[in-house]
């Protein structure tokens, strides 16, 4: 079960999209997983043959649980040299290969940027000592971001990964029975108030916190067919929808609490003159068929992405007391859901998308976010997030950063304002662009550089 977000502890496997014996490629959607936030297609991290499915549809399992066993592809390609993999044993002994390349450590988006172009080619620079250390401590080199020369994975990187794994969120004091019961009832111990000695969570506390009648989350094996051949959704409402909303609320609560507690935010704001951009947009839309028309949001997102390229200090993650730059600019787009709550799936490589492409991707992403059909990489890989509350009528949004990212860009409504332009007073369309940034990672000057870049980019819309 991959971690599909920093706030995800467990997921329910809804459906297998492949069967035993199927050939799967890296990046193929192989399963549908329901988290507290949405339903997500999990993409395969390796190419090979699906040997065995370990988890029945309908089962809720913690992050890190192996879902399936992938063996080598039937035809063994000569290029797949054993030492490529972080776990040499996985390649040399196919029968022993296991699912996720070591459960991703808590700061889940950490491994995400590792899927860079270089990594996709499958070559990892690491010395034998580091390789040995990684193998010994069960760290997947592929999931590491190398900080050495030329992206080389160093000993420090491996040790940091081990430390990150060893230091998850503070352990909840709970009796062993309460812990077991919480797992059975699907209760998040972190949300339960303990009444035992030194605030330990007891079984009675868990029962009180359990939603509805005490029923195990894993349905009876008879309830769900082992494999559903059609893409028809199994009852996502295995839990009542209000439970789902409550679970999402809790997940958001946990994440935002953590963000507000751990991240020293600083906020910058600037008004951006959109006259040029709106003119260009109107002209473009006038000449385009309805289906290809652009929304102002597309321009704003593109500008935000390009500015992140100019100011890479804001594009990445703060993990283990240091900043790790994101590999590529994957723009998280905050999407509010109709049933309440929100998700911020990633527009991959947003800086490289032409505006029409970006617009299409955005429409697709929003539609799938609202129907709960996101893919794993989309929910876990954003490197910087944009929230646009303009369509809700507000002018300024000062957001909370989605950890472990280090910046959140906000756009308000585009409003006509009296402005001084070239010594004359004019009415111009203006948007308030804001930046919430992690002061541990950057200082105000960097943030200022970013907002200035956004503003400048929007003055030349034809170059976006």
């Amino acid at each position: 079960m991959p971690s599909l977000g920093a706030d995800m502890d467990e997921g329910t496997l809804l459906e297998w999209l492949v069967g035993p014996g199927d050939l799967v490629h890296k990046g193929d959607p192989v399963a549908v997983v329901e988290t507290a936030k949405s339903t997500i297609e999990v993409e395969c991290f390796a190419t090979g043959t699906m040997n065995e499915l370990l988890v029945e549809p309908g089962t809720t399992v913690p992050v890190g649980t192996p879902l399936a066993v992938i063996g080598p592809a039937e035809e063994r390609r000569p290029v797949s040299r054993a030492p490529k993999k972080g776990k040499p044993s996985a390649s040399t002994e196919p029968s022993a290969s296991t699912e996720p390349p070591s459960p991703p450590p808590e700061p889940a988006p950490g491994p995400a940027p590792a899927l860079s172009a270089a990594r996709q080619r499958g070559h990892i620079e690491a010395g034998p000592l580091v390789r040995h250390l990684a193998e010994h401590s069960g760290v997947d080199l592929e999931a590491l971001h190398g900080t050495g020369p030329g992206g080389r994975v160093t000993r420090t990187d491996v040790e940091a990964a081990v430390a990150a794994r060893a230091a998850p969120r503070p352990r909840v004091r709970a009796s062993p029975f309460a812990r077991r019961l919480a797992a059975e009832l699907g209760v998040d111990l972190a949300t339960v108030t303990g009444t035992g000695r030194e605030s330990a969570v007891r079984a009675a506390d868990v029962r009180r916190a359990a939603p509805g009648p005490a029923a195990p989350t894993a349905p009876a094996p008879t309830g769900a067919a082992p494999v559903r051949p059609s893409p028809q959704r199994p009852p996502a409402a295995a839990r009542p929808s209000e439970d789902r909303a409550a679970a999402m609320r809790r997940a958001i609560a946990g994440l935002m609490t953590r963000a507000n507690r751990d991240i020293p935010h600083y906020y910058l704001s600037t008004s951006v003159d959109l006259a040029a951009a709106m003119d260009w947009l109107h002209e473009h839309n006038r000449q385009s068929p309805v289906g290809e028309r652009l929304l102002p949001a597309a321009l704003l997102l593109k500008a935000a992405a390009l500015a992140a390229r100019e100011v890479p200090e804001l594009n990445g993650f703060w993990i283990d007391d240091h900043f790790t730059a994101g590999e590529g600019i994957h723009l998280g787009v905050a999407v509010s859901l109709r049933g309440g709550g929100l998700v911020a799936p990633a527009l991959h490589h947003a800086d490289t998308l032409a505006l029409p492409q970006l617009m299409n991707s955005l429409k697709d992403l929003v539609a799938r976010a609202r129907t709960g059909m996101l893919r794993g990489t989309e929910v876990s890989e954003a490197t910087i997030t944009v929230t646009n509350l303009g369509d809700q009528g507000v002018e300024t949004v000062l957001g909370v950063i989605h950890p472990p990212q280090v910046a959140l860009v906000g756009f308000g409504r585009v409003v006509d304002r009296p402005c001084a332009v070239d010594g004359l007073l004019g009415v111009r369309p203006v948007v308030t662009a804001t930046l919430s940034a992690d002061h541990r990672a950057t200082d105000g000057a960097v943030g200022a550089r970013y907002l200035t870049a956004v503003s400048r980019l929007l003055q030349n819309p034809e170059q976006l």
Binding site: P176, F177, R197
Partner: protein, 331 residues
């Protein structure tokens, strides 16, 4: 004391024990009783009163004051085909015979490749609570329960006092029976056992759902009293009587903790290295994921037993201590 058994309304633990001896002596001529003052004096605690008159000096034998000698003689008699019942006055003096028990009785079967069983029963009184001071108040049954090759029994009820001796004599291994001194005068109606009394299983003396009070021997009445008190507060305590201290009925312990998720172990011995420690460890090993609270132990204070009444009472586990431990586990 006309003890006719069957229709007597009330009987005591002492009488039940005597009746068991009487039945054993009657039913098997290989059985004989020996020990200090068991004959003419009727036993230090009056258990064998009248048996000399009934069975004669050949089968109810007074011995010199040498535990090592008469336990050794008992081992020899068992090896020679007899079924001796050796009474050691109290566990305090059994230390003089520890070498015989540990190095001979417990080992000979195993060192002889199974050729030399030692079907010996050794009875002794154990425990404190009668102002006998530091040298005569030990509860060392846990030490004996440490020894492989022997079986250790702790009858705590009239039924077990009456019915454990026969299967103990039938057991091919040496069997040690610990009779808590505070139990001899316990009286009640002796019920005929509904099932054969076995030496394998612990007994649920009182069923409950909130907490398991696990104990044996002289602490059983205290645990039952504590359970009454807890019941008055709405806490349903299950009282487990271990009965057999070696081998321990681990399954009964596990099953009880699975029902209640909390446990208090009550043992009159000192806490460190005690039988209570063993039971607690078993719970941690077998029932960790059932536990909703740390295992509590109620044991004697780790001091040589004081003589003064109040001090002795303070040093020994009392129902109030058990109730307090249960509160810690439940609340």
């Amino acid at each position: 004391m006309g003890v006719d058994g069957s229709h007597e309304a009330k009987t005591t633990y002492r009488e039940a024990m005597r009746e068991a001896l009487r039945q054993a002596l009657r039913s098997d001529e290989r059985v004989f009783l020996m020990g200090e003052d068991v004959g003419r004096y009727g036993g230090c605690f009056g258990v064998s009163l009248g048996l000399l008159e009934e069975f004669g000096p050949e089968r109810v034998r007074d011995t010199p004051l040498s535990e090592s000698a008469f336990v050794g003689a008992g081992i020899g008699a068992a090896l020679a085909g007899m079924r001796p019942v050796v009474e050691i006055m109290t566990v305090n003096f059994s230390l003089l015979a520890l070498d015989q028990i540990l190095n001979n009785a417990a080992t000979l079967l195993h060192m002889s490749g199974g050729q030399l069983p030692v079907p010996l029963v050794i009875r002794m009184t154990t425990g404190a609570g009668r102002q006998l001071a530091a040298q005569h108040s030990h509860s060392l049954e846990g030490w004996y329960a440490h020894i492989p090759g022997i079986r250790v029994l702790a009858p705590a009820t009239l039924e077990d006092a009456r019915h454990m001796l026969a299967p103990a004599l039938a057991d091919p291994d040496p069997v040690l029976i610990f009779e808590h001194g505070s139990l001899y005068n316990v009286s009640g109606e002796l019920l005929e056992p509904t099932a054969p009394v076995d030496l394998e299983h612990a007994a649920i003396r009182r069923p409950g759902t909130d907490i398991s009070l696990i104990t044996y021997g002289g602490s059983l009445p205290k645990a039952l009293a504590a359970a009454d008190e807890l019941a008055a507060e709405g806490i349903s305590a299950e009282v487990i009587d271990l009965r057999t201290l070696r081998p321990l009925d681990a399954e009964a312990i596990t099953a009880s903790v699975a029902r209640t998720h909390r446990a208090v172990v009550i043992d009159e011995a000192w806490r460190t290295g005690s039988l209570a420690a063993e039971v607690s460890a078993r719970i941690a090993e077998e029932s960790f994921y059932e536990l909703d609270a740390p295992v509590e132990r109620v044991c004697s204070a780790e001091v040589p037993m004081p003589y003064a009444r109040r001090l002795e009472e303070a040093a020994l586990p009392q129902p109030a201590d058990i109730v307090a431990a249960a509160h810690r586990a439940v609340n």
